[in-house]
Symmetry: C2
Subunit: 398 residues, 2 copies
């Protein structure tokens, strides 16, 4: 029998994917250049040339049996060491090889981290607005994701609601900074206060509360924005990282968990993650990609286009009277729709071939997300379309 | 809190891994050429040059944003299509693109297949001797792996025991042909009879019984050996494949599930597997590796060394009076130890720097496995050592 629980999931199609498929279909009809597709968070800039060069070098100069051979389930030893050293160099941390577990992207990292520090029935808190796949990563382990309502003034943490929901049942708190979908980066003040609350509650309840910090956008932070390294503020931190955005390699499924050396059981968490892998058939990320990223750890794609795009869109949104918090990083912006139902708002935009994602399933009704990882030339053209759309559909506002 | 179930797994270290680590350590002491390490099933021959060439071509000639971009969670459309066409060409099957789900190796394939066709509490049958990781792939889903005792005469299926254990609680049967560890290939007669039993029991119980056919060694079959394509015999077959052995790329984590077009719900099983991926953070296999294998689907490494090695070892074992069934494929051979406790036998062999794996956790006590994916020159030297070992330790046999 086909498992009925998985079968039931087929009806719940992702709104993002649906919109993206519509955009592709529409592009076929009227030309892709005429569809302004802000639906998908797919990096639009090529990775650094050094990444390609490293791949070419590995293929040309190495023994194929070695470079394509099995990786240990925790990751290739020298790769884990290189990741630890890069983090220590950049953030003044003290990671050792044993604290690094190589994963298939941040998705794999979060899925392992949650399995590692919860048992079925435990609660995991996250903060609205949040990446909708968190529901899958958490609930499929048997733990239960609960969402702290947004602080819509700043999209920093709503601490009153957080403290109320941080009961004894909470085993882990899952944050995402820089944030998808808001584009906000948690400030030093936010992280400090978050860590203080967690330490206080750990003491009060007499058990660990792990902080799972999902940081795939860590390298996309804009000029002058305060962007603290979360793990430095709280011992029980598992940092989940992906090279998808920094190196523009989302399809190559490569990332890691970095276990804070001062965390409870810090020396065995990576080994436990290796055990978790055995049961889900993940085993290890691809060997050649591990080797390649380990040689370009401190490099990134040219990420400046995202800031250029953000400024263009942000300024236009402000001009047009939108309520919107200025993003500090990522390639997302998260404005309030011009009517209460963001779904209706986005449906109207579609008529103008402007593809916007309503944010109900990001835990924030009335808002929409724009993923501006597209060419700047197209962004510029889209702004006139945006103006035409809102002035036609919402004349009372102008 | 660290999940205590996963933590408990840390004590159960894999005997294969332990022996392999010992072999590496010992190699450092006395020189690797003097340690005869038959522990690990790691391909020893390079992949076809065309695979490396294809990778180089992709990296040199394609848009990096495209080749490193996100794959759909079911796999890249043209890759799935190429896999279906290759199967149809080679085996006269009728797979369509929608029947192919790309996975991270056979491990990922089996883990998805089991999740798809069982619910917690269901039983999954497999046949001794079996790959020990099956216990993890099955039991971690909540289903229960039960092992049908071996037919030690031929290592084909023990049908009496099988029929007895094939109760109403069984949702799936998991086979592995060519087999790790026995090296045996199931004959047309075996598969025909297996399919007959399954159809009869499906009818009797009024529910599907899926056949999960794990075939990572499909391309390593020796001269003249009958090697039927399993899915042609039984509609409810999910074929799990890995390119690890055929292309010598075990570290690149690439394989697939092929759903028999006549299986129950055949058209949605791949889509359901995509949903399963979301919860375990697997998402999709690496894009560039998908693209590369799709261009060399009908090619393999030069696999002839494995047959050469097998013949050398088999003949020597027979000369020395071992009870052993001649392998029809893979790079494993599975002789009976010269004393009841294969652990003691293998410990004695270790003194001669001959690393053999006792088979208790393959579900077959009293046997041991040799993974002869090493150079032929070393195999030849190891045979004298084997002779010296058995004639010294078991003089009463000679």
């Amino acid at each position: 029998m086909i498992n009925p629980n998985y079968k039931a999931l087929l009806s719940g199609k992702s709104i993002i994917r649906e919109l993206s498929e519509y955009a592709t279909e529409r592009g076929r009809e009227i030309g892709y250049e005429n569809v302004f597709d802000y639906s998908l968070g797919n990096p639009s800039v090529p990775g650094p040339v050094s990444f390609t060069d490293t791949m070419l070098e590995l293929l040309r100069d190495s023994d194929p049996v070695t470079i394509h051979g099995y990786s240990p389930s925790l990751g290739i030893q020298q790769v884990r060491q290189a990741v630890a050293e890069s983090l220590n160099r950049r953030f003044g941390t003290c990671y050792d090889t044993k604290h690094i577990f190589m994963t298939c992207g941040a998705a794999g990292a979060v899925a392992h981290a949650v399995r590692c520090v919860t048992v079925p029935g435990d609660e995991v808190l996250t903060f609205a607005p949040f990446f909708p796949e968190y529901t899958q990563y958490v609930n499929r382990t048997g733990a239960i994701l609960k969402v702290v309502p947004a602080n819509t003034e700043t999209f920093q943490i709503n601490f009153d609601a957080f403290e109320e929901m941080l009961t004894e049942r909470v085993a882990a708190v899952l944050i995402n900074t820089p944030n998808n979908p808001s584009g906000i980066v948690y400030t030093t003040e936010t992280i400090t206060r978050l860590a203080d609350v967690l330490r206080r509650k750990q003491k009060q309840y007499g058990h660990d509360i792990f902080l799972i910090s999902d940081e795939p956008y860590r390298e996309i932070v804009f000029e002058g924005v305060d962007s603290p390294f979360v793990a430095k503020f709280y011992d029980n931190t598992l940092t989940c990282y992906s090279f998808s955005k920094s190196l523009s390699v989302p399809g190559e499924r490569i990332g890691y968990i970095a276990v804070n050396p001062n965390a409870t059981d810090a020396d065995i968490i990576a080994v436990i993650c290796g055990q978790i892998s055995r049961g889900i058939g993940h085993n290890c990320p691809p060997s050649i990609i591990q080797l390649a990223v380990s040689r370009v750890l401190d490099q990134t794609s040219d990420l400046s286009v995202y800031e250029t795009n953000m400024n263009l869109i942000y300024n236009k949104l402000i001009d047009l009277g939108f309520t919107v918090v200025k993003p500090g990083g990522t390639f997302y912006i998260f404005p309030k729709a011009l009517e209460d139902d963001a779904n209706v708002f986005c449906m109207k935009a579609k008529k103008y071939d402007l593809i916007l994602v309503p944010a109900d399933n990001f835990g924030c009704t009335g808002y929409f997300r724009m993923a501006y990882c597209i060419g700047t030339e197209k962004v510029i053209r889209s702004l006139d379309v945006l103006e035409k759309f809102v002035k036609t559909e919402y004349p009372e506002k102008y």
